[in-house]
Point group: C2
Chain length 267, copies 2
Amino acid sequence: VAGEIVFVGLGLNDELGMSLRGLEEVKKANEAFIELYTSLMPNFSIKRLEEISGKRVQVVSRKELEDEDGEKILSAAKSGKVVLLVPGDPLIATTHVALRVRAEKLGIKTRIVHGASIVSAVIGLSGLHNYKFGKSVTIPFPNKTLSETPYEVIAQNKSLGLHTLCLLDIDVEKKRYLSISEALNLLLKIEEKKRQRIITDETPVVGVARAGSDGAVVKAGFLSEIIKYDFGQPPHSLVFPGRLHFMEAEALIVLANAPEEVRRLVE
Amino acid sequence: VAGEIVFVGLGLNDELGMSLRGLEEVKKANEAFIELYTSLMPNFSIKRLEEISGKRVQVVSRKELEDEDGEKILSAAKSGKVVLLVPGDPLIATTHVALRVRAEKLGIKTRIVHGASIVSAVIGLSGLHNYKFGKSVTIPFPNKTLSETPYEVIAQNKSLGLHTLCLLDIDVEKKRYLSISEALNLLLKIEEKKRQRIITDETPVVGVARAGSDGAVVKAGFLSEIIKYDFGQPPHSLVFPGRLHFMEAEALIVLANAPEEVRRLVE
């Protein structure tokens, strides 16, 4: 096997989110594939990417990557240099780790060109300190049963004084994106059942919309205010702060327009 | 105040780690500053950055940013468009959040162009699932007193079945970089004192060196092996796995050359 797969992170928002090294890798590739279903890049254009890279870029679907085990990419990579473009930082989505493992088992070399991730972007935009975040969680669309996992993760982090990053579910194929207010309503429903007073009108929340775009919006406050706030177009994310350092409270007030009352969360 | 500060993330390793949008911002700036002390970018060249951007780039020291409150940058930003280039994703270092808060209070607009962060890079390279990481921690150089915080964070995460990302301290000005084996030896010293059997020869560990470079090394195994492993040049990072999903064990074996015995950590 002489080929290789280079996983290139697209970073955030649009085709300019990719690193300079990522663009070089696309230019040198024999074949370039892209998946755009694991994260929403609201202003991304394949046409513009093809213009700046001079390379035809083939879209691969969830079905091709997951149900068909990435067969199309793996067979192209047996003999040539293949680039797979992935939103954000490429190995944060577990599906790409699985593809990487399959490739290496077949003797195909793999390399990573990292990109900006929604994880570090939202943490940075929130103004909160990175090392005070606990486990993160995705809030899924409501299904027949309502997942209690996000509520439990927030509760566990709060009991340790830690912040929680919540990514909100997306279904790019169906153009469905969970919004901040929908996510908060789901958590309030779980609260009704559990009654642990983890999610109430007075719970401090930071909402982040369109991280990585020029129109990024960051707004902090108490749940009763944030649930009614108009964050605009997706993607949306949420942060539930735990105990605050006084510099974190200051950042929430100055950078995320939080009410002065958040200072009472300072430990 | 008519000016603005754009915080541009440099991403990882060298000047090609920056995003295409980041480069555009540097080209459009009236003045460009850079700090290179919060993370080590081993192959970074200011000269090459100046060549690709066509812009003179001024280095700012820790003293100028922290002791002098970024006065130089703030005064340049009062009237013009200033770019501050920062390793990784720009707001992960708390010192830049503080500068952003000061700027906004002075009426200077701020924007962020995100970059790849060592945080998501190491998590991705480890092959472990992002949502199973707990609180992260930096292991500091040994001082008069040995900090027990890293040990306590690892212990707390382990008790919850979670993984721990440990960044290792650096002092770019003094060219000192904590290595994986030095960090493990520090943790063993704390173990001697605490005797909770959190850090032993049998503790599973993932070492990552030079994330984001073509020579990135990822090696997983038990502490007695990793402490002797030659990871080469800095920067180094560490991950302490908690309980493993079977796909995580598979990834550690295939991607990080872990011994088959890590399968016994599967829950």
